[in-house]
Amino acid sequence: MTRIATENYREEAIKGINDPVLQKALANLQMRLGRGAEEAYRNLPEGPGLRRKAHEIRMNAIENLDVLLELLADKIRSRGGHVFFAEDADAAVTYCLETAQKHNVRLAVKGKSMITEEIGLNDAFAAADIEVAETDLGEYIIQLAGEHPSHIIAPAIHKTRSEIGLLFSEKLNIPYTTDPETLTRAARKALREKFLSAGMGISGCNIACAETGHITVVSNEGNIRMSTTLPKVHVAFMGMERITARLSDHDILFRLLSRGAAAQKMAGYVSYIGGPRISGQADGPDEFHLVIIDNGRTKILADNEFREMLCCIRCGACLNMCPVYGEIGGHAYGYAYTGPVGAVVTPLLVGINRAKDLCLGETLCGACKDACPVDIDLPRMLLLLRAKLADGDEKWNVKRENTGEKILYGIWSEIVRRRWAYDAMLNLSREGLRLFTGKEGMISSFPFFLKGWTDSRDMKLPARESFMLQWKKSEKQKRVK
């Protein structure tokens, strides 16, 4: 049921680059949030080094995941909550659907959560004829327009206010306006009715705490508090890695998360949820279900070189700094996770060959590593994925992508190891390249597979003499003087 469109990377990337609205929005977003986060890290009393500490906290949790999840489940069950362990997307979706059907749910309200995108929950509910209303304003806009989110934190950045005005006037029956405040009010009203009548609330989980037995949900709009407080049944989904051992770990993680995600000191609403309402409490859900999802994560866990990726808290900070994401936008990544985090996680989840363009497209500039609140070495893993594509890999079931390239590099490495061969090749190519001289003395078109080099740029002709030769000559001249 899950939507995977990683094969369309090139096509979608070109679309993104040619979309002037998206280009402006991306530049604005990266300016505001990317730079903002950088400054917010710098202003931490402990300095940016705190990110290293956060990394250790996360890694410690990942390496003891079995104990932590058991404890979390015990604690939540002891408060009357239900915990379900789902091996894959289907199991998770089926459990939630059955719970909804048991309670005759016709309408569910959902807070922004990437894991439900990952498992394709909305489509499954639609097929069962149960309405799922997205309640984050950005996601609501995207849902009304029948599209998919393009940014983790700001899903509707690719839409202008006049597009949204048109959309709302058509779907919500309000007079056309481009005023963000009026538009927000209209959505507030429409969604308020849904919150009050929904039979089920669906949320993700930010970072759970094993010691106390709580999940956490975070939002700025208050929609997740609504979804987890008003409906009679609350179902929360969490990737199995989203947990820490101790409550005090949350101090550091939340401070970093808020800064990384939205360059703010603290998110608007954070709730620790550990079970359904208890006797004497007048509100909160009667039933609480937590669905803990594997869906390919144990495979990442088992590989020491990729295990670090499970530290990710899905904050979106790496998107806000990434020069590639900043040009192509989120749709090209073709899955729930976009930007640098998507470029590593998506291939690991859906297949490295299938999502190869994602990791080949990134530049390895390192900006994402500096932006990451938990200091994940994304560039290292991008490189590793590329290595697997170049050489093939049995464990990850990767086929070698390009045999021709491999042979060429084989020859190249033989040549550069022999001085005489290298010099001969240089001399040959210096003369050879002159054959391609185009206008203004530049090389502007290569034939065949070399075309890529000259498609979007001209190349200068090589100098008549190599640097080494020039050097030797000038040394000789000096001596003569």
């Binding site: 995941l65 927000t184 010691e211 709580h214």
Partner: protein
């Protein structure tokens, strides 16, 4: 036995981590494993309980500054009656968002009961909504949600307030309904100066103490609220009142 897939799931993780049960595990939960942090945590608790009035006032000033950035109103008042006066004024001046009837939802909380604003509100035809916790059954739940959704002001207290960010910290207890700080258009919180602490570090130190000391823990739902509800999803323009309250007022009783 139906364990909801737990055993299989956990075993798969153990396998991925190569745990055979022989390797010793680190003590994950020992609250403070190293000497240094034991000391630190004791120091923090000490600092909180012995904080002189003047430094508390300084914290309050810091909070007022932080609040300005997020459109949060932090208002110091000398006494509780003064807070009551301000709140009544707010109830008179502000207009309801949905419909024309004015009603106010309130927590059952000593601080709020002591303000005694019921009579004066009732005289002006402003309805009061409480949760009847002794019989908080299913119909009571529906009633409270419906009536809170129709209220234009919700009045609560809080467990703590964090000066650095202006964050209210609320646990869930009988009588302290969650919807009162969520559904009304305007959220008003009344706290005492002693409830203001410096930062999250202090908060988590207090929780740790709490976990050990009185076993209440975080309750089944604890919420941090930092400023009024907000969104920037339409062309990155900031709008308040996306879903939660549009305005938030915190009255801090400083004492004389």
């Amino acid at each position: 036995m139906n364990d909801n897939g737990q055993v299989k799931f956990i075993n798969k993780i153990r396998k991925a981590l190569c745990f055979d049960g022989k390797k010793p595990r680190p003590d994950l939960f020992c609250p403070k494993s190293d000497e240094e942090s034991i000391e630190e945590s004791v120091l923090i608790l000490d600092r909180i309980s012995n904080r002189p009035h003047s430094s508390r006032i300084q914290l309050l000033e810091k909070m007022i500054d932080a609040a300005k950035l997020i459109n949060l109103n932090v208002i110091p008042v000398k006494t509780l009656p003064e807070a009551a006066q301000e709140i009544v004024k707010l109830a008179f001046e502000k207009q309801p968002e949905w419909g024309d009837e004015k009603s106010v939802a309130l927590w059952k909380h000593p601080l709020i009961e002591e303000m005694n604003i019921g009579d004066i509100l009732r005289k002006r035809n402003i309805k009061m909504i409480f949760s009847n916790q002794p019989d908080a059954g299913k119909t009571e739940r529906d009633r409270l949600i419906k009536e809170s959704a129709g209220s234009f002001i919700g009045i609560t207290s809080a467990d703590y307030c964090i000066a650095e960010t202006g964050t209210l910290v609320m646990k869930t207890r009988p009588g302290h309904a969650r919807v009162v700080s969520l559904l009304p258009s305007i959220h008003v919180a009344v706290i005492k100066l002693e409830q203001v602490i410096a930062d999250f570090k202090e908060l988590y130190a207090l929780f740790e103490e709490d976990l050990k000391e009185n076993g209440e823990g975080l309750t089944n739902c604890m919420t941090f609220i930092t400023g009024p509800s907000k969104t920037a999803d339409i062309e990155a323009t900031m709008v308040h009142g996306a879903h939660g309250p549009r305005e938030l007022y915190i009255y801090v009783v400083t004492g004389t």
